[in-house]
């Protein structure tokens, strides 16, 4: 930005008479800063968002906005930026509605440098920064809470999570938290195509910015529309630390960063705010390659003395499920009939109920109607009329609210297993012995322990297996799946989601004659899942899918083959530690090379600790005309 630099040069050095005298003081400050080596101090580098390059030595600022720097090479030259920043502090520009004096624009830097260099107020006068102090006064900050909306029904991708910071005002309590403000970092876009969003998000295609939002809008978005339980982690930041955090947020203001879905995401940047607030916290260092929001929450809760307490805020759906568990079936049917307008609010069957039950049915009826409207399932033109009727009927009952307490899950999302996994094992296939190494960078599969996770949801990235057969040389890649998602969502009278799966990657295919080249596979399907209340204490889900698979490779006659067929299975927890998945699949490849692929597999997991487990897998498989049995035992560690 040479133009900008020249302007700044003119603005700084030529027109102001006072500058000649101050020039000496600026020189003095610069010398003192150099002597103290301030520009290499962690506090300064944190304020500039300097991070080491992942691949080569050196570091640079993650901020991708020239406005964030005062020096032309501020992004890579921390010392130059410090000196240029000192220079602009001498500006006497007055604040307007749209512009600020540099002392206010960079108020966190000003505060820190002032403290380190002991600015002489006579030679470097302090600016009033009215806008900042007005802003801080209206936030009235007292506490900071890290907010984590957990995964939601039938959407394994949401396990990836999101985090935001909430600024709790002095006069709030647990009943009025809605009035707080939240600070979040997000990709600024109106993109409605999830696919385009995902792709551009992966490659830094959006500007990420910090923004402030009334917390009630966030709660509405997460608990009421997306139906995610929200976890609120109240932190122990002191007033001084909170002040630093807010000054830094102010200073970041509209600064944009290139947004990267995996690493430079919401969670990562929030950690850097906490690092500014409490110098010495080392949070972002742990996330050089990727930052999964739940892992970043774990990094925060692992810091000694940073966590004060945790509040669980169940989503609307969690409250409805709790009601359903406590209500006789004939009453829940009435609630559903009410919501779906099969009976009206004055129906005799309702009025015959005891008053308490009557109130409960009306409340559930409304919640369900509201849920169906929010998820787009109820398109009846008079749905809103019905919803108001239900509320009106409820308001006429002299009964206190009947909202059930939802028990707090015993394991929080940050207390579940860690998300990277390594496994080693050995087994035999048709009498041939092998050893296997398994590496999954992230995140969770159906058989990993459920505690802290959503049951029936699987999302894995870059899952890899290598195998060594006895008597052969070296390791060979057995399987590599960049993406692997499964969602098993049990259906019942009230909720009827479609289960689905999708995975893509390379796998070994067994051709006639016995050789097994790697082929590319794209596999997906949809189906239905139901819980089996009578089996294993209700901890079992059975499911059926219709799947399709496209295999591609030079070994196929026309380079590809396309198959389809059914799969059925039972996923169950026998005990807290012991779980299994029994599955049968049959795919008929009709296009391309005509053949069958069938599999019957039983996979079991026994958890040794929260961070380790043993797995035993037994299967019988067919591809083309060959059948074979295999079994292997492996031990997995989570890290």
């Amino acid at each position: 930005m040479p133009g900008r630099w020249i302007l700044q040069f003119i603005f700084l050095w030529s027109p102001l008479a006072g500058f000649a005298a101050d020039n000496a003081y600026l020189e003095e400050l610069i010398q003192r800063a150099r002597q103290a080596n301030l520009s290499q101090r962690a506090e300064w580098l944190n304020l500039l968002h300097y991070k080491p390059y992942p691949y080569w030595p050196g570091s640079r600022s993650l901020a991708d906005d020239p406005e964030f720097f005062n020096a032309p090479h501020g992004k890579t030259d921390a010392a130059g930026e410090l000196e240029a920043t000192l220079a602009v502090f001498f500006s006497t520009a007055e604040e307007t509605d749209k512009t600020q004096n540099p002392q206010c624009r960079f108020i966190a830097r000003y505060r820190w440098l002032k403290q380190e260099l002991q600015f002489d107020p006579a030679r470097l006068p302090k600016q009033p920064c009215r806008r900042f102090y007005q802003w801080r006064a209206s936030l009235d900050p007292h506490e900071i809470t890290l907010v984590f909306p957990a995964a939601y029904l039938n959407n394994p991708a949401s396990m990836y999570g999101h985090t935001l910071l909430r600024i709790d005002a002095r006069d709030q309590d647990e009943h009025t938290r809605l009035l707080a403000y939240s600070i979040s970092y997000a990709a600024g876009t109106d993109e409605t195509s999830g696919l385009i969003f995902a792709v551009r998000g992966l490659f830094g295609g959006y500007p990420g910015v910090f923004a402030i939002t009334p917390y009630y809008l966030k709660v509405r978005e997460y608990s009421d529309i997306e139906n995610r339980d929200v976890w609120e982690y109240q932190l122990t930041l002191t007033p001084e630390e909170i002040d630093r955090l807010l000054m830094h947020v102010w200073e970041l203001g509209p600064t944009h960063f290139d947004y990267y879905f995996f690493d430079e995401n919401c969670a990562y940047h929030l950690l850097s705010l906490l690092e500014v607030a409490r110098p010495g916290l080392q949070l972002t260092d742990q996330f050089r390659w990727w930052a999964i929001p739940s892992d970043t929450v774990r990094a925060v809760t692992d810091q000694p003395g940073l966590l004060k307490r945790v509040v669980y805020r169940p989503a609307s759906v969690s409250i409805m499920r709790q009601r359903l568990m406590q209500m006789p079936v004939d009453q829940s049917r009435l609630a559903k009939d009410l919501a779906q307008q099969r009976i009206d609010a004055n129906d005799d069957r309702l009025r015959e109920l005891p008053a308490l039950d009557h109130a409960r049915v009306l409340e559930l009826g409304y919640e369900y109607a509201s849920y169906e409207a929010a998820t787009g399932r109820n398109k009846a033109p008079d749905a809103v009329t019905r919803m108001r009727e239900l509320l009106l009927a409820r308001s006429q009952l002299k009964i206190p609210p009947q909202k059930p307490g939802v028990p707090v899950p015993s394991v929080r999302p940050d207390e579940g297993h860690k998300t990277s996994r390594i496994g080693i094992g050995a087994g035999s296939r048709d009498g041939r012995r092998f050893g296997e190494i398994h590496l999954r960078p992230t995140y969770h599969d159906l058989l990993d322990q459920d505690a802290g996770y959503t049951r029936g949801a699987q999302i894995q990235f870059f899952d890899m297996r290598w195998r060594h057969y006895r008597g052969e040389d070296g390791l060979r890649l057995e399987e590599f799946k960049p993406l692997d998602i499964v969602s098993l969502s049990p259906r019942n009278d009230f909720f009827n989601p479609i289960s689905w799966k999708i995975n893509v990657g390379w796998t070994r295919k067994h051709f006639p004659g016995g050789d097994e080249p790697l082929v590319f596979r794209f596999n997906g399907g949809s189906g239905l899942a139901y819980s089996a209340p009578g089996l294993f204490g209700g901890n079992a889900v059975y499911y059926g899918f219709i799947e399709a698979a496209l295999d591609a490779g030079s070994r196929f006659e026309s380079n590809y083959t396309l198959g389809a067929g059914p799969a059925i299975g039972l996923l169950a927890n026998v005990s807290e530690r012991w779980g299994f998945n029994l599955q049968a699949r049959s795919l008929r490849y009709g296009l391309g090379d005509d053949h069958w692929s069938r599999e019957l597999a039983l996979e079991q997991r026994y958890a040794l600790t929260r961070q380790s487990a043993v797995r035993l897998r037994l299967s019988r498989k067919q591809e083309f005309q060959d059948y074979w049995n295999s079994g292997d035992l492996s031990v997995h560690f989570y890290f």
């Binding site: 997000a186 509209p254 409820r394 308001s395």
Partner: protein
Amino acid sequence: MLNKKLMAVAVAGLFSTGAMAAGENNIGCGWGSKVFDGQRGIAPQVLGATTNGTSGNQTFAITSGTSGCTQDGVVKSNWKTAMFIDGNKEKLARDMSTGSGESLESLAKLIGVEDQHKAAFFQTTKDNFAHIFSTDNSSTDQVLASLKQVLASDSELAQYSQSI
């Protein structure tokens, strides 16, 4: 007083369109319900699944100066109640129908209801549910106006009608 405020809502609404056209990441008052019109159906769910996306109009940029009903990203104090009702209409209706709840507590806090009057406030809004939410799709200004009326006609709570 109230009419003036509603007038201003309308004006701010007009301005916000202008501000958007000028490329500013800030929207005036009255955005709340509009934001969520677009939040239903499959597409936003998929977008939500990717967790980190947001459209500019759900958030306020920090340090963007004064515009609409916010200043540097925080809601100006004279807009707070209207904005809160606008963003919480469904939950307020639900809370009022049972006479309790987080949204109702927060509303009481916003209009400064003291602890000793809270029970009466909850009971009154419950008893007058039909009046406060007088139509199926009550607008924010309708809710504000009728809530003000209901409070004014209650001897114990009349003092609070001034702060709406």
